[in-house]
Symmetry: C2
Subunit: 396 residues, 2 copies
Amino acid sequence: MIAEKMQGLVDNNSVIRQMFEEGLKMAEEFGKENVYDFSLGNPNVPAPEKVKETIKRLAEEEDPVALHGYMSNAGFPDVRKKVAQSLNKRFGTSFHENNIMMTVGAAGGLNCALKALIDPGDEILTFAPFFLEYKNYAANFDGKLIAVRPDTATFQPDFEDFEAKITKRTKAVIINNPNNPTGVIYSEETIKRIASILEKKQKEFGTVIFIISDEPYRELVYTGAQVPYITRYYRNTIVGYSFSKTLSLPGERIGYLVIPDEAEESERLFQAVTIANRVLGFVNAPSLMQKVVAECLEEKADTGYYAKNRDVLYDALQKYGFGCIKPEGAFYMFIKSPTEDEREFVTAAKKHHILLVPGSSFMCSGFVRLAYCVAYETCVNSLPGFEALAKEYSLI
Amino acid sequence: MIAEKMQGLVDNNSVIRQMFEEGLKMAEEFGKENVYDFSLGNPNVPAPEKVKETIKRLAEEEDPVALHGYMSNAGFPDVRKKVAQSLNKRFGTSFHENNIMMTVGAAGGLNCALKALIDPGDEILTFAPFFLEYKNYAANFDGKLIAVRPDTATFQPDFEDFEAKITKRTKAVIINNPNNPTGVIYSEETIKRIASILEKKQKEFGTVIFIISDEPYRELVYTGAQVPYITRYYRNTIVGYSFSKTLSLPGERIGYLVIPDEAEESERLFQAVTIANRVLGFVNAPSLMQKVVAECLEEKADTGYYAKNRDVLYDALQKYGFGCIKPEGAFYMFIKSPTEDEREFVTAAKKHHILLVPGSSFMCSGFVRLAYCVAYETCVNSLPGFEALAKEYSLI
């Protein structure tokens, strides 16, 4: 009775639910404080105080008909203008309000971008390991998601494989920078190389290939790391942003798309994503939250909190002999599994009440993802478990 | 470059934008108070005071990590429970939290329902005149939207045509009750008849046919009119609801789907719409607004305001000789055009600064839609224009 395309998703979902329920059961059995759940990418630092103050002030002062009302499907013009100005100030760009569409989170924005661009059978490249939901987003429009091999020494892309996988049907390349699940930032050199390969292939095939840059972690970077602003390196770029992580508002579903003037048929593309926002049923980004984020563009949830978690875990895992690149951004660590089948390692970790996600869930087996957006105590208290695992696998 | 499916939508959009810009230009030329814009279905009464108080209180008192955080894709369990209890109290149903999925407005909910049900080529019936966006929603999943003829004397469905149009491929029937654009409520008799035709056809074809009932106007009814609660008449029903109109929160994108236990494969269907919520990019309904509406389930924006508009316009239009059914719900009036081509009448009305929408935009030519969610003065001041139009067309 259910749509054929959904059958597999429903069947597979019970597996994820099983994992989730197992975690709950463990917490019940051993006490929540004795289970080290690193499986979920859910921010656990509060939104900045200014978010709260702004919500209260807007509710009190603004005309409710305007504050909670419809606006253009692209969002409130004044909000879009403020977002453009903030980007210009920070990245030396020259966006205006008609380059910015407010979206229902980054996920909503990505779907609008794909709806605007993808014909059935079009190919969308992305770099493994990647957030598996991209596959579902591509499938929404009958696009084919194709994964480019990672360089597992650096987790920068394998450029040779990238170039080889670009075809006439390649319509877009999704980049996630900083990266979930590796915590790696694609360097300026990487971005330039991706851009130059795409320029070459656009010419070779006479096609237009878009970079869709998914950047919910842009502001979660450590020790002064920089995330290059992609529109400065390649014309045909769509940036997808979300305030979920920067302002700790993941449940509010608020973000934006950037369609720069330089992009091919930019105006028509902006119309297309705006219409996609409407016909896909988003209609517009939540109105109160649009106004809230516009007042909080200079705010940031406490990333020092995540940095502290990263440091204590990374230093210990290094000491115990686990292979892992030091994350420069986001709140994930991608650890080399000491056994080939990383699902075996995930099971072994569970015995120490440590919950991790197998890399195969990100199309990169042999690794596991650890999400350190948890209490500092959870990180510290998990260390004896990791040490015991290191001994079991003879790493120390 | 843009996806083929989007090309037509983008081209067509410029027509709508033209209409909108024409309205703005008229307002500039003649003064806003001298233009009677009945073209948009945008609520113009403020949200109830309790909405404001609840937003402020939740922002002040709740843990921001929980208030703005992720939850199950179906929504906060406590919110879903409160919605179920409120429905049970009002309609004698027996829903529980796992019958309710919180959605990004009714549009988001409808798309989740269709994603869960529709295979490419499946047929979706709806009753003309109808909200044309249904066509785009069906097209998102390569479904074919098929319009059932109206009985233009009553604007209840033409049952003979309905029965004739049901085939083996019919997967769903979309009902909009109260109806946009007619303001008609499908009576209990109508609902029973639809249900019995579907029962018969399900048996005949050995198929499952869902009613998807789109009910954003459920609470906007006049003089004690009742909207039958559809799950009590037919098993295979999905109800889509939005708080946009009841609480005057259209920009906030908050609503819910009801999947009753009685529906075929109900549990699996609930899982499917929940996954659809995720993979379509909604992820979940905005979190703060979920909590807000849960506290405001007994609240209602001032429908007396709309009733007053309805009365002054309906009485005058009757007097001037225009044909029109007295609306029992929503805030629309569907007026018989005095000329066959209603677009000619729309143009004639513009000369009197009256903006209406042609019925062909709702797949029902020969009529025009008037949205009376405007200031009372706008209604009153438009009357001389209508009177003049009546004279031009020799109605009086």
